[in-house]
């Protein structure tokens, strides 16, 4: 069961930037993103999130988001997704980075989640 990461942000640049930060330490982890609305304004898009789920080559996903309304769109996308997706109420950049480092080292999901727990802030 391979694990991948999905980053959802209200801003396209933040999502792209987090992907860049993570890619450096997790070359073998599939990291896909959904940033901004469909027309790249500040906001989130369920369609973009669904695309990020589909584009991710892993078969089980860890999802991170910035603000609350991203969470709502994420949850709607999760309800429609065929892949299992785990959603974390943790600090976006820091927890996505932590997860990426650990997944690159083939750390199992339970251990990753244990390291994410102290980063819960939402």
């Amino acid at each position: 069961m391979s694990l991948g990461i999905v980053v959802v942000s209200h801003v396209p640049e933040i999502a792209a930037g987090v992907q860049r930060l993570l890619a450096q330490v997790a070359k073998d982890v599939s990291i896909t993103i959904a940033g901004g609305t469909d027309d790249d304004q500040v906001g989130t898009s369920m369609a973009k999130i669904t695309e990020a789920f589909d584009a991710n080559t892993a078969d089980e996903l860890l999802a991170f988001y910035d603000l609350g309304s991203a969470k709502m769109n994420l949850e709607m996308a999760i309800e429609m997704s065929t892949k299992p997706v785990h959603l974390y109420d943790t600090a976006l950049v820091e927890s996505a980075y932590t997860a990426a480092s650990l997944l690159q080292a083939d750390v199992p999901l339970a251990d990753v989640e244990a390291q994410l727990a102290p980063l819960k802030i939402k």
Binding site: V42, M46, S69, M72, N73, M76
Partner: protein
């Protein structure tokens, strides 16, 4: 009783109200949010109008199309919230056409989607008393107006306004105001209630 015709009329009127009050809604969203609620809702309701123009075959399809338009076009928190509301009404309408029952399902969906409850200074503070009034056969403009006004002194617990903590008090909640338009137009639509 809800029909495709009167529901279409209702939602088109709601869209007209949103369009008319677009800048007011965004102004309300400025001190306690990001100033886009009017734009978000106007974009969403324009898509709803387009969907309704295709004349959905039944109420379920009508609510589904409305939900999809809102979910895909709004871009802010109000998208999944109003979207979920209409999605729940679509589901419920398969077995039921009682407006009170449909709205209660919608409210439950909103609460589940956003994790907020009465008193959190969100659109729920309009939906909850309005749904109760509809179920009791007692919806009036005063019920709606009071519900909208009740959000002013509240301290936000959910959404962007909650980042302001105590400072969110003293402002109407923009989502409550837009929901006020939804129910005002419902009340004004002949034959639904």
């Amino acid at each position: 009783m809800l029909t495709v015709e009167n529901t279409t009329a209702w939602l088109n009127q709601f869209a007209a109200q949103i369009e008319q009050h677009q800048s007011y809604l965004s102004e309300l969203d400025t001190p306690i949010g990001d100033g886009d609620h009017g734009g978000n809702m106007a974009r969403g309701l324009a898509a709803v109008k387009t969907a309704l123009a295709t004349q959905p075959a039944d109420l379920t399809k009508l609510f589904q199309a409305t939900a999809m338009a809102l979910i895909s076009k709004v871009g802010g928190a109000s998208g999944p919230l109003y979207g979920t509301a209409f999605l729940e009404m679509a589901k419920q309408s398969k077995t039921d056409t009682d407006l009170g029952t449909l709205l209660a399902a919608a409210l439950a969906g909103i609460e589940k989607r956003g994790g907020a409850t009465t008193g959190d200074k969100t659109l729920i503070d309009v939906w909850a008393p309005v749904v109760a009034a509809v179920q009791a056969g007692k919806l009036t403009q005063t019920v709606i107006d009071d519900a909208v006004a009740s959000t002013k002194p509240m301290v936000a617990k959910k959404g962007r306004a909650s980042y302001l903590g105590e400072r969110s008090a003293g402002h109407l909640d923009p989502g409550a105001v837009s929901s006020g338009y939804l129910f005002t137009t419902l009340l004004a639509t002949e034959g639904i209630l």
